[in-house]
């Protein structure tokens, strides 16, 4: 078992170090930025008061928990740290369990005298250790920046706790699904759901009169990410709440172990249906679509949920503000720059739809890479396939993904807004969804370029660039990063929409860049060898 653990850690050495250091560095660096930016208590208080009555900010950040520096850092960062830890856990666990089994590597391992569950045990231990490493590094890092040790420890543990909860969730997903891809999708949807539940609960939360605290509504209590917030690292600490993370971990992990001890090698809980006896796929593009339509549908489902969330939440949140006239005036004044309060709320959520669209399109290109490394592209080579051909197909799927995600997300948001008594916002919401696409397309094009030039780096670099772009877009202005740095991210250039006036110039420029880069990437990829 120790040997397996060592072998898994060795396989992951680079990847895990990047995840752990990246997450911790993101936390500590952003924390220092907050300290520098909001050095005086006045500034922190006005920031929090603004947020406390703005459901959009509550949804995309978290709940204010007092005006100490640590509390502001927790408000700004914690949910993102928790998401990073949860995603690290998901990919780590699935990579070593179902993905390995699907590829046939478990068959070799399981014929040795190690017991049916040992490989999973090693993976779960590795996942827990990785999350503890994040917890320790965050504790040390925050303490070093001058925050109190107790709060630093608790926010570290809350982050690691959410990650550990998802070690269990992913382990269970890996037993239910028959393929690594589906297991990742299930556990990944779990992470998204955890984030959305707490976004919902926080946005519907009750602000305290002074605007320095917000008490989350009940949906936040259904989410491991929400539990970390409820532990109040820098407020009145409630560390026992983190036991909920451990409980979720214990329940899901025991279920996973119970299944793995009972089931056949290669089997899942969800069986395979029989396929067609004759093929309907007659072209390489048809094949790409056949392979990826499930993924496109899943992303579109996510977009629908996000759109309904944005549209459906808008009204109750606005009503909450309207109930507090003095605040309403202040917030309306601030929001007035770009449009109504409702519009800023929808715009904030639509930025997330942009990331979703980018992720969906990115996956089309990444799939092409995995098709190549799995040796499938080689099969098609005889029928004029090859990296160039497959990239063209992938970009076609990517464009479809972008359009589908934007259309579904926009229509869902518009319908929800219309249903909530704002039919005038239906088309602006749909438009706002499509405004996100040029920036999203740039990530696809850049990933295509990486695929053409550095094929083996396609998957890690593709996701990292998207994560980086997202974080720069979300936090760049908050932390007053130099404009040159912020401008690197395409998301920075997406105008706020819906809004009073939308600046078309950056949209056109970004679309042009995406097209040029994609065409160049296709041309380059036609000239390169297949790389396993």
């Amino acid at each position: 078992m120790l040997r397996l653990l060592r072998a898994q850690a060795r396989r992951d050495r680079l990847q895990l170090i990047i995840w752990i250091l990246g997450t911790s560095l993101f936390g500590v660096a952003s924390g220092s930025a907050v300290i520098k930016e909001f050095g005086d208590a006045k500034g922190r208080e006005s920031l929090l008061q603004l947020a406390a009555f703005n459901p959009a900010l509550l949804a995309i950040r978290g709940t204010p928990d007092g005006s100490s520096t640590g509390a502001v850092i927790g408000f700004e960062l914690f949910t993102y740290l928790a998401v990073l830890a949860a995603l690290m856990s998901t990919f780590l666990v699935v990579r070593h369990s179902r993905a390995d089994e699907e590829a046939g590597r478990w068959e070799l391992l399981r014929s040795t005298p190690i017991g049916r569950a040992s490989a999973l045990t090693a993976t779960v231990i590795l996942g827990v250790l990785a999350n503890l490493a994040i917890a320790v590094l965050l504790t040390l890092g925050f303490t070093a920046t001058g925050l109190p040790f107790g709060g630093s420890l608790l926010i570290g543990l809350a982050t690691g706790g959410a990650g550990i909860a998802f070690v269990g969730v992913a382990a269970l997903a890996a037993q239910v699904a028959k393929t690594g891809r589906v297991a990742n999708t299930i556990a990944g949807l779990g992470v998204a759901l955890a984030w959305l539940l707490r976004a919902l609960g926080d946005a519907l939360g009750t602000p305290a009169k002074n605007g320095l605290h917000v008490t989350s509504a009940w949906p936040s209590w259904l989410s491991p990410i929400g539990w970390g917030q409820q532990a109040h690292p820098f407020g009145q600490p409630q560390p026992w709440i983190l036991l909920l993370d451990l409980a979720l971990f214990a329940v899901t992990a025991s279920a996973a172990f119970a299944i793995v001890r009972q089931r056949d090698l290669g089997a899942g809980l969800v069986g395979d249906r029989q396929g067609r006896d004759h093929g309907r796929v007659g072209s390489s593009f048809g094949l790409a679509w056949r392979l990826q339509r499930g993924g496109v549908i899943a992303w579109a489902g996510g977009a629908a949920v996000l759109g309904l969330f944005a549209g459906g939440l808008a009204k109750p949140a606005i009503d909450a503000i309207k109930g507090n006239p003095s605040v309403a005036v202040a917030v309306e004044a601030l929001a007035g720059k770009g449009g109504s309060l409702l519009e800023t709320f929808v715009a904030a959520i639509m930025a997330f739809l942009g990331v979703l669209a980018a992720g969906a399109a990115l996956q089309a290109v990444l799939r092409t890479r995995s098709e190549e490394s799995d040796g499938h592209t080689e099969l098609l080579l005889a029928g004029r396939g090859g990296p160039g051909r497959s990239l063209t197909d992938a970009l076609g799927i990517a464009v479809i993904s972008l359009l589908v995600v934007a259309a579904v997300g926009g229509l869902a948001a518009g319908a929800a807004l219309a249903g909530a008594g704002h039919p005038e916002l239906f088309w602006p919401a749909v438009g706002a969804a499509f405004v996100q696409l040029p920036a999203a397309a740039i990530f696809t094009a850049v990933a295509a370029l990486v695929f053409a030039v550095l094929p083996r780096a396609t998957v890690p670099l593709g996701w990292s660039l998207l994560a980086l772009g997202f974080l720069l877009g979300q936090f760049g202005s908050l932390f007053k990063l130099p404009k040159a740095v912020r401008d690197i991210s395409p998301f920075t250039h997406t105008p706020a929409a819906p809004g009073a006036h939308i600046d078309w110039a950056p949209l056109l420029v970004m679309t042009a860049i995406a097209v040029v880069v994609a065409v160049f990437a296709t041309a380059v990829s036609r000239r390169r060898d297949l790389v396993s």
Partner: protein, 293 residues
């Protein structure tokens, strides 16, 4: 003789698909047992059940007298296994994987490991993603042979290996057999089985159709005669498929009809005669043909 592997009436279904349907298999200690069958006959499924990687839906199985599902760890302590389709961790080197797999079984014999690497002409430093199918197979074979075991289970072990490496594999099987080990070798490559195996079991559609020594099985088939003769053999009992190839007459004879045929040939005079024993190929084909008909 001790029975090492015993399966009787084994069945396994995946949903509506019945992979095994009352399969019987018995492997005695110290023998090389061939496990033959066409693609999809259920060879790999049987092996996975015997190793406790899958649970049988019905029937009984025992390896070293132990239940494979509940006592798989105890069984695995004495088993070396090479699956039919070897898949490796792309970022680890071949040497690293060999050491991982052998250390899970208690550690490799160092001299064996290096002599195997030499015999198989294997480069252990290459990353696994760059190995061809044959080289991936070598990783699993070296890992299996590098630590002595009581039972070696090979699932189509030489697929992807060139003829030279196949002979290296045969030498290794003979070596471990001399040390007293038992070998279960699944294959559809008949020459491999013919050269190595003491006994064979032939399965088809998840059922055992024949088992015994090669000599036993040959009794079940006809011998092919090629003769230049004036005798009219077509009327004799036990003679089939008489055909003429130039001046030669070619026909098949049942084993128990051999005597009268030889007598008839001797009486009418023969100027040339070849008698070919049935190859395993024919044996194999006759089974499939009768089953398919």
């Amino acid at each position: 003789m001790t029975i090492i592997v015993e399966a009787s009436g084994l069945s396994k279904s995946f949903g509506r698909v019945h992979a095994l349907n009352g399969l019987d298999l018995s492997v005695t200690g110290g023998e090389v047992h061939g496990f033959l069958g066409p693609n999809g006959a259920g060879k790999s499924t049987t092996i996975r059940i015997l190793l406790g990687l899958m649970k049988a839906s019905g029937g009984a199985a025992a390896v070293f007298g132990l239940d494979p599902w509940t006592r798989s760890v105890d069984i695995h302590r004495r088993v070396a296994y090479v699956p039919g389709d070897v898949s490796l961790w792309p970022t680890l080197s071949g040497g690293e994987i060999i050491d991982l797999l052998t250390s899970l079984r208690g550690g490799a014999d160092k001299t064996l490991r290096s002599s195997l690497i030499q015999d198989f002409e294997f480069n252990p430093r290459t990353k696994a993603r760059d190995y061809s199918k044959g080289n991936r197979q070598k990783v699993a074979l070296i890992a299996a042979f590098a630590r002595p075991a009581d039972l070696y289970v090979f699932d189509e072990p030489t697929s992807g290996l060139d003829p030279v490496m196949e002979s290296v594999f045969r030498r290794q099987v003979e070596r471990v057999k001399k040390d007293g080990a038992t070998i279960l070798l699944s294959s559809h490559i008949l020459s491999e089985v013919e050269e190595l195996c003491d006994r064979v079991t032939i399965i088809r559609s998840g059922t055992t159709v024949e088992t015994g020594t090669l000599a036993d099985l040959r009794h079940l088939t006809r011998t092919t005669f090629t003769a230049v003769t004036a005798a009219d053999v077509s009327k004799l009992p036990g003679v089939y498929e008489v055909r003429t190839e130039g001046e030669k007459t070619v026909f098949d004879v049942d084993t128990d009809a051999m005597q009268p045929v030889l007598a008839a040939l001797a009486k009418s005079g023969v100027t040339a005669l070849t008698v070919a024993p049935p190859s395993l190929e024919q044996l194999f084909l006759s089974h499939y043909e009768t089953q398919n008909a």
